[in-house]
C-alpha cells in the first residue's frame, strides 16, 4: 500500500532561522500519527506545512500519492481542526459546517444530506441553528470536528484540538476522537504537547525537539526504547528516572553501580546487556522500582533506599528518593508502608532498562 502522507527532506526556515530540519515521515492509510514535543519544537509549523498554510523551504510533501508540495490548501484534500476551533463567529453551526461545501459549489441537496449525517454522528443536531458564541467549549469542539468530517478528506489534521478544554472534557473528547478514528478508519495527523494524549491516541508517534525529529515509532517503542535522553525524559508521567551510574563487566552480565549520598552504593546486575561503557545513564521507569512483594523473584533485585517524600495519587503512591545525585521516583502500590525519612526495601526490575551515553545522550542498548 502506498503511503497516504509522505514527507521527504522537509526544511522550513524564516529568514535565517531554521524551524524544521530534514523532516522525513510517512504514514500508511488508517494511521494515527501524533507529533509531540515541547512548545517551540516546530510541530505546529510542520502541521501547517502539511496543510499548505506555510510554504516550505525545501523537500517534498506527498498526500495520497500525489505531489502536493506547491498545491494550495484547498486542493490538498485535507481537513483541519484548530486549537481555538476557528469557527466563523457570525455564522450558525449549520452554516459553519456547510461553508466549505458552499464555497466549492456543492449542490444544496448534498449539503443538507451531509450536514444531517455529520450532525447525527456527533450528536449536535439541537445546536445547528445556534452561533458559536452560544456554545460551550466542548460543543464548539464538536462543531469544529463536524466541519472537518463533512469534507470526508484523505487526511485529517488536528492542531492541539483539546488543549482549550478542561481536564475532564479533554479525556472524554480524547476517547471520542479515538473511537472516531477507529470507526472511520481515516488517516490522521495530530499535534499535541501532551505526551499522554500522544500515547493514548497514536498508532505512530513523532517526537520532536528544536525542529529535529528525535524518534519515530509506535507508542510502545517510544515508551520502552526511547532513542535518547530527551525522549526518555519527555514521554511518560512521572518521567523516566535517569540515574548516572557505573557499569562494570562481570561474569553474569553487567554490574551496575549507583552511588548514594549516604551509605553504600546500590549494586544491580543486568544479565541481558553487555559491552557497556563505564559511564552510563541508567533509565528506569518509575513502575520498575516497586514494592518487593509485587514481583516474581527472578526479575526483582531488592535494595534498601531512604525515602525522602511520599506522594499518594489514589491508585498509586509515588515515593521520591535520592540516587546517584538525582531525584528518583518509584511507583508503589496505594497501601505501601513507605514513610518519608525512613528506609524502605524496593525492588528494581532491569528487564526494560535503558542505557544512555552521558556525553551524547544517545541510547546504548
Amino acid at each position: 500500500m502506498s503511503p497516504i502522507l509522505d514527507i521527504k527532506n522537509l526544511y522550513k526556515s524564516y529568514g535565517t532561522t531554521e524551524i524544521l530540519k530534514d523532516i522525513n515521515v510517512s504514514i500508511e492509510p488508517g494511521d494515527f500519527l501524533v507529533l509531540v514535543g515541547p512548545s517551540g519544537c516546530g510541530k505546529s509549523t510542520l502541521l501547517n506545512c502539511i496543510a499548505g498554510l506555510e510554504p516550505i523551504t525545501g523537500g517534498s510533501i506527498n498526500i495520497g500519492g500525489k505531489d502536493m508540495t506547491h498545491v494550495s490548501p484547498k486542493d490538498r484534500d485535507i481537513a483541519m481542526v484548530f486549537q481555538s476551533y476557528a469557527l466563523y463567529p457570525t455564522m450558525t453551526v449549520a452554516k459553519n459546517i456547510t461553508f466549505g461545501m458552499k464555497v466549492r459549489g456543492v449542490d444544496q441537496a448534498t449539503q443538507d444530506r451531509k450536514l444531517a449525517q455529520v450532525a447525527q454522528q456527533l450528536q449536535i443536531e439541537p445546536l445547528l441553528n445556534r452561533r458559536p458564541g452560544q456554545l460551550s467549549g466542548g460543543q464548539r469542539q464538536r462543531v469544529a470536528m463536524g466541519r472537518a468530517l463533512v469534507r470526508d478528506p484523505k487526511l485529517f489534521l488536528f492542531d492541539e484540538p483539546l488543549s482549550n478544554l478542561d481536564a475532564k472534557l479533554r479525556v472524554e473528547m480524547r476517547t471520542e476522537i479515538k473511537s472516531l478514528h477507529h470507526n472511520l478508519g481515516a488517516s490522521m495527523v495530530y499535534v499535541t504537547h501532551d505526551q499522554i494524549e500522544a500515547m493514548t491516541l497514536a498508532t505512530k508517534i513523532v517526537v520532536m525537539k528544536g525542529g529535529v525529529i528525535q524518534q519515530i515509532g509506535s507508542p510502545a517503542e517510544i515508551y520502552n526504547r526511547p532513542a535518547n535522553l530527551f525522549v526518555a525524559d519527555f514521554m511518560g508521567s512521572p518521567a523516566m528516572n535517569l540515574i548516572p551510574a557505573k557499569a562494570h563487566r562481570a561474569d553474569e552480565g553487567t554490574r551496575i553501580e549507583i552511588t548514594r549520598k549516604s551509605g553504600e552504593p546500590i549494586v544491580l546486575t543486568d544479565t541481558k546487556n553487555r559491552d557497556l561503557p563505564e559511564d552510563v545513564i541508567l533509565g528506569v521507569r518509575p513502575e520498575d522500582i516497586a514494592d518487593p512483594d509485587l514481583r516474581g523473584a527472578e526479575a526483582a533485585q531488592a535494595a534498601e533506599c531512604l525515602i525522602d517524600m511520599v506522594e499518594p495519587a489514589g491508585a498509586d503512591t509515588f515515593a521520591v528518593m535520592q540516587l546517584g545525585g538525582k531525584h528518583v521516583t518509584a511507583r508503589l502500590h496505594a497501601e505501601t508502608t513507605a514513610k518519608p525519612g525512613q528506609p524502605k526495601r524496593l525492588s528494581f526490575d532491569l528487564g526494560k532498562v535503558s542505557y544512555f551515553a552521558p556525553e551524547t545522550g544517545l541510547r546504548l542498548n
Binding site: 496543510a51 498554510l53 484547498k74 483541519m80 484548530f82 466563523y88 461553508f99 464555497v103
Partner: protein
C-alpha cells in the same frame, strides 16, 4: 456606648458621602451649562429678528419666535455675488461626504484585512508608512495635491474632492481596521483557506460580517472629518462645487452692511446638523466599537 459611637461615625461618613455626591453633581451640572451656553445662544439668536438682536440681551429668550433667519440661511443668504443660501452647498457636502466615507471605509477595511491577516514581507513597513500619513498636516499636501488633481483632470470638481478625502482618510481607516482585525485569531483565516475560500471570499463572508462595530467607528470618524473639512474644501473647489463649510464662511464673511447674526447662526446650525445626526444615531456603537478590542476574550 461603643455601638452608639460607631453608628454615629457611620452616619457621619454617610452624610459626608451624600454631600460629596451632590457637590459632584452640581459641578458637573455647571460644566454642562457652560458647554451648552454657545448652543443656547446660537439657537435663540437664530430664532430672533434682527431688531430684537440689536435691542435685546444676548442670552435672553426670543420675545417673538421667527424662522425667517432659517429660511434665509437655507435658500436666500448671499455667498459673495450669489444669493441661494447654503442649500446647494449642503448638497455638495453630501455628494462629497457619502462616497468619500464609503470608499475610504471599504478600502481601509481591505487594507486592514491584508496588513493584519495576510502578512507579507514588508507589511509592517507599509503599515507604518500609512500610519505616518495620519500625522502629515493638511497644509503640507496642498500644493502636491493641487498638482495631482490638475494632472488627473479633476481639479475643482466634486470627484476631485472625494479623491482627496479618500486618500487622506486611508491612513486612519486602515489603522482602525487593522487594529480590529489583529484581535481576530489567524486560525480563522487558515480554517477558511482549508475550506477552500479565497482572499475576497474570506473578506466578504467572514471578516466584513464581524466588523459592524469598527465600521461604525470609522464611518463616524470619517464623516465628521470630511463634513467639517474647510481647508481642502476651500483649496480644491471652485464656484458651484464648494462644500457647506466654505459656504458658511462666505455667508458670514462676505456680507456687506448690517451683520445678520440670526442668519449666520441658523446657517452654522444647519451646517453642523448632519454630524450631530450621525453621532445620535450611531453614538452607542461608537463607544462599543472603541472598547470592542479590549473586551473581547
Amino acid at each position: 456606648m461603643t455601638d452608639i459611637s460607631m453608628t454615629s461615625a457611620q452616619s457621619q461618613s454617610q452624610t459626608g458621602k451624600i454631600v460629596l455626591r451632590w457637590l459632584l453633581y452640581i459641578a458637573l451640572g455647571l460644566f454642562a451649562l457652560f458647554y451648552l451656553m454657545p448652543l443656547f445662544v446660537m439657537i435663540t439668536t437664530s430664532l430672533k429678528s434682527l431688531d430684537e438682536i440689536r435691542t435685546g440681551d444676548l442670552i435672553a429668550l426670543p420675545r417673538e419666535v421667527t424662522f425667517d433667519a432659517w429660511r434665509t440661511a437655507w435658500s436666500g443668504a448671499c455667498t459673495g455675488i450669489q444669493c441661494e443660501g447654503v442649500r446647494p452647498y449642503f448638497w455638495n457636502s453630501i455628494l462629497i461626504a457619502i462616497p468619500a466615507v464609503a470608499i475610504s471605509t471599504l478600502l481601509g477595511a481591505m487594507n486592514g484585512y491584508v496588513v493584519a491577516q495576510w502578512r507579507f514581507r514588508g507589511a509592517n513597513i507599509i503599515f507604518s508608512l500609512m500610519l505616518f500619513g495620519c500625522f502629515i498636516p493638511f497644509q503640507v499636501v496642498l500644493l502636491p495635491m493641487a498638482r495631482t488633481l490638475g494632472i488627473m483632470g479633476i481639479a475643482g470638481t466634486i470627484p476631485g474632492l472625494i479623491f482627496v478625502h479618500v486618500i487622506y482618510g486611508l491612513g486612519f481607516t486602515t489603522l482602525f481596521f487593522r487594529n480590529y482585525y489583529v484581535t481576530i485569531p489567524a486560525e480563522l483565516t487558515k480554517a477558511a483557506k482549508v475550506d477552500g475560500a479565497g482572499f475576497f471570499r474570506i473578506f466578504w463572508s467572514i471578516f466584513l460580517p464581524l466588523s459592524l462595530p469598527i465600521i461604525v467607528v470609522t464611518v463616524i470618524w470619517q464623516f465628521t472629518q470630511i463634513w467639517n473639512d474647510f481647508l481642502f474644501g476651500v483649496s480644491f473647489s471652485q464656484a458651484g462645487t464648494q462644500p457647506v463649510t466654505v459656504a458658511l464662511n462666505n455667508i458670514v464673511n462676505s456680507t456687506t452692511g448690517v451683520k445678520e447674526y440670526n442668519v449666520d447662526m441658523a446657517a452654522a446650525i444647519i451646517a453642523a446638523l448632519p454630524t450631530l445626526f450621525v453621532y445620535v444615531v450611531a453614538g452607542k456603537y461608537f463607544i462599543r466599537g472603541l472598547t470592542a478590542g479590549s473586551v473581547k476574550g
